[in-house]
């Protein structure tokens, strides 16, 4: 029973939450709002994808919010301030963010400094650098916002009624999914996070895997920043404040363990949706911003506690089944149910 709850419980909770808000909050169950939430989902979702990879590998990236800001500000400067072509600006911005992620990864693996410290330092350093690069020299009213139509498609456009950012997110999601489930890298990533001794013994370059996750995380955060900038038409410096908490929360709610070695993109997706729905519903209900973060913090905390309890329950179950099998000499051990489900040979 508990196992079913764990796999689908989150989905159920999400649906229940959505239902509650649809009934209680004015304007929640409208097309416009759903489209808005999907756009929000895309933006947070990019970061969540990157963070999921990092966390599966046993690390953590706290600098994503700042990389998002960096991307936004760079986009603003290049497109609005210097009038660059988006086809040149966007790849450059993304490249820079990717390099920042790479730097994170190298510092963590090479210098063996805990990821928590490195990315926490990055959180402040990158934000500082980004803010100093922010030249909001508004020369006229028309110059106050990014207005390049090609660029604006990213955050504001629709394709057959579906937000472009969502489509983009789905593409990235699919790519990440393929990476995790169909490539060697994905398997090795779980190994590195789950039992890095086993990974090493199998000849996996643990450091390289970790560096890649941080690099991808940087890229994803950059993507978020670019799309957000497109949506807001400006490189908002206050954006992304606390984003890392929401994103990590979403990943943990989605079932990943902070110790590494477990977690799925599907879970992260549901976790992210959960956070988005919660945020949107609250603001439609008129909950003041500070109570919102309060409530969000409480929810994430609750999710982690429940996860902790469920994990301990699972460990106890393992002991029970092993001892039970000790008693039933003549019966295969508890692991057999898996084999049975798929058929003994």
């Amino acid at each position: 029973m508990l196992r079913v709850l764990r796999s689908y419980g989150l989905l159920v909770a999400l649906l229940v939450l959505g239902l509650v808000f649809a009934l209680a909050a004015p304007g929640f169950a409208t097309f416009g709002n759903v489209a808005d939430m999907l756009r929000d989902l895309s933006i947070v979702g990019f970061m969540a994808i990157g963070e999921t990879l990092v966390i599966i590998g046993g690390g953590i990236d706290l600098s994503i919010g700042s990389i998002l800001v960096l991307a936004g500000i760079l986009s603003d400067d290049l497109l609005r301030g210097m009038g660059w072509n988006p086809f040149l600006a966007v790849p450059l911005v993304l490249a820079i963010c990717t390099l920042v992620g790479l730097a994170n990864g190298i510092i963590v693996t090479w210098f063996r400094i805990p990821a928590f410290i490195v990315t926490l330092a990055g959180l402040y350093a990158i934000r500082g650098i980004a803010l100093s690069l922010y030249r909001h020299d508004v020369t006229s009213v028309t110059n106050a916002l990014i207005s390049d139509p090609t660029f604006l498609v990213l955050g504001q456009g629709d394709l057959f009624g579906i937000p472009v950012s969502l489509l983009l997110f789905l593409v990235v999601f699919a790519a990440a999914l393929a990476l995790l489930q169909r490539t060697r890298f994905g398997l090795h990533l779980y190994a590195v996070g789950g039992n890095d001794l086993a990974a090493r013994l199998s000849g996996i370059d643990v450091d390289r895997v970790r560096v890649v996750t941080y690099t991808l995380s940087g890229f994803c955060a950059g993507l978020s920043g670019v799309v957000l900038a497109s949506r807001l038409q400006t490189g908002a410096p206050e954006a992304g404040l606390g984003a890392e908490f929401d994103v990590i929360g979403a990943v943990v709610i989605g079932g990943a363990s902070l110790l590494g070695g477990s977690g799925t993109l599907g879970g992260t997706l549901v976790g992210t949706a959960f956070i988005i729905v919660l945020a949107k519903g609250q603001s439609l209900l008129g909950v003041p911003a500070n109570y919102q973060s309060f409530a969000r913090g409480a929810v994430i905390l609750l999710a982690v506690v429940l996860d902790g309890l469920a994990q301990r329950r699972r460990l106890r179950t393992r002991v029970i089944t092993r001892a039970a099998s000790l008693r039933e000499a003549g019966q295969p051990t508890a692991a057999a149910p898996l084999g049975q489900a798929r058929g003994w040979r």
Binding site: R184, N195, R316, A323, R327
Partner: protein, 501 residues
Amino acid sequence: MAVSASLLEVVGLTKAFPGVQALEDVSFTINPGEVHALVGENGAGKSTLIKILAGVYQADAGEVRLGGSPVAIRSVHEAQQLGIAVIYQEPALVPALTVAENILLGREPGAGLPGLVDRQALLAEAQRLLDRLDSPLDPRARVGELGISWQQVVEIAKALSLDARLIIMDEPTAALTLQETQQLFQIVRELRAQGRSVLFISHALEEVFEIADRVTVLRDGRLVTTRNARELTRADLVRFMIGRAVDESASRARPVAGREVLRVQGLRRQGVLDNVSFTLHEGEILGIAGLVGSGRTELARALFGADPIDGGEIWLAGKRFAPRSPKDALRAGLGLVPEDRKREGLVEAFSTAANISLANFGFISRLLGWIDQTRERLLATRLIDRLAVQPSSPTWRVRNLSGGNQQKVVLARWLARNVKVLLVDEPTRGVDVGAKDEIYRLMDELARSGMAIMMISSYLPEILQMSDRILVMREGRIVLELSRQQASEERLMEAATGGVG
């Protein structure tokens, strides 16, 4: 089983660690297609030998020859390349991945584009390997949800996929049930039929006779003998292992035990302890025997308040005793020397004195927790002297002590408290011979002075030598209770394993 060329030869292998000579001039041969048992007491050198073959340690002297030519095994990778696979008691597997993914970790079959994995091929290959072991294990099962015996199968399949010629197993049956052990042996026979060799360490002598072709006995780091299993009797083996006939063991005739100091009634904990009842008296050493996983350590921890219980009662000196934490147990006069002193017993960064005072805050501090450094030092020095801890400086960091001395420090902690009941879990595990003897003598002394000692040990000669009474546990239950006079290794082993073999 006669084969001309040997698979692996160990010649004159020697290895020393600070304070102890782990191996000295050990030489023996493993033939292809052979199941070879490595037997010996704790500390005889078996683990060291295996680690040298696995590439974890390097020998000080001697050589290893494969197929006649000397090889250097400088790393775990090199060992793997040479066809040596090691399966430890704690499987080196990734819980989140499936059986197939674990077996072929790092060598996944590719599919078209670089980096992609051909899942069909992966499953097929894993299935093929499992078939060769005749195992019903499903390659799609997630390793994290498997019991230990299945995880072992995965490790063996992995070894197979590396085409290991020699598969080394370190006490593989320690955590297995009877049924699972038989399944493992089936696989071992399969491996043998394929011309591979298996070298396994075991303490379960009847297993040795059941599955091994040849047996090598180590004692105190030296080779005693290598024989065909068929040529040996159990008594022979025991004699080789401990260097004396079992019934010649020094019996320290102790005065008859005194008053009852601990009574346990119907202790139970779901899945771990099943209706455990026994008594313990002053001046008595109660030996608790049984295989790993039989619930002995859990019993000690439950008595010490370290784990909760579901039911049952404990009486200490006639009064109800229901510890909710080790702190309660301490106050009631209990002490626990845990099974794994590195992980559970010592704070490695602390000095000897600080480790001793860890359970003696009341003594070293008078007012508000202020530590009286003189008292602390005096306490430490007194105990260091009594137990002959080497080096004798109280400020020496325990990290740098030998295993035997570390164990003494843990014991010292409880001696300082003058505990009434001492629970000792594996008193001489990983302890060199000299310190082992000292610890035995100490325990004898303590018992004579009136302390009640419950001694858990996986090492039957130790149980027989030290205990006044013996309990054997199996599957969380006490299955046998006898006095030392009535006991023998055979009877104890029979009871511990359920009587088969």
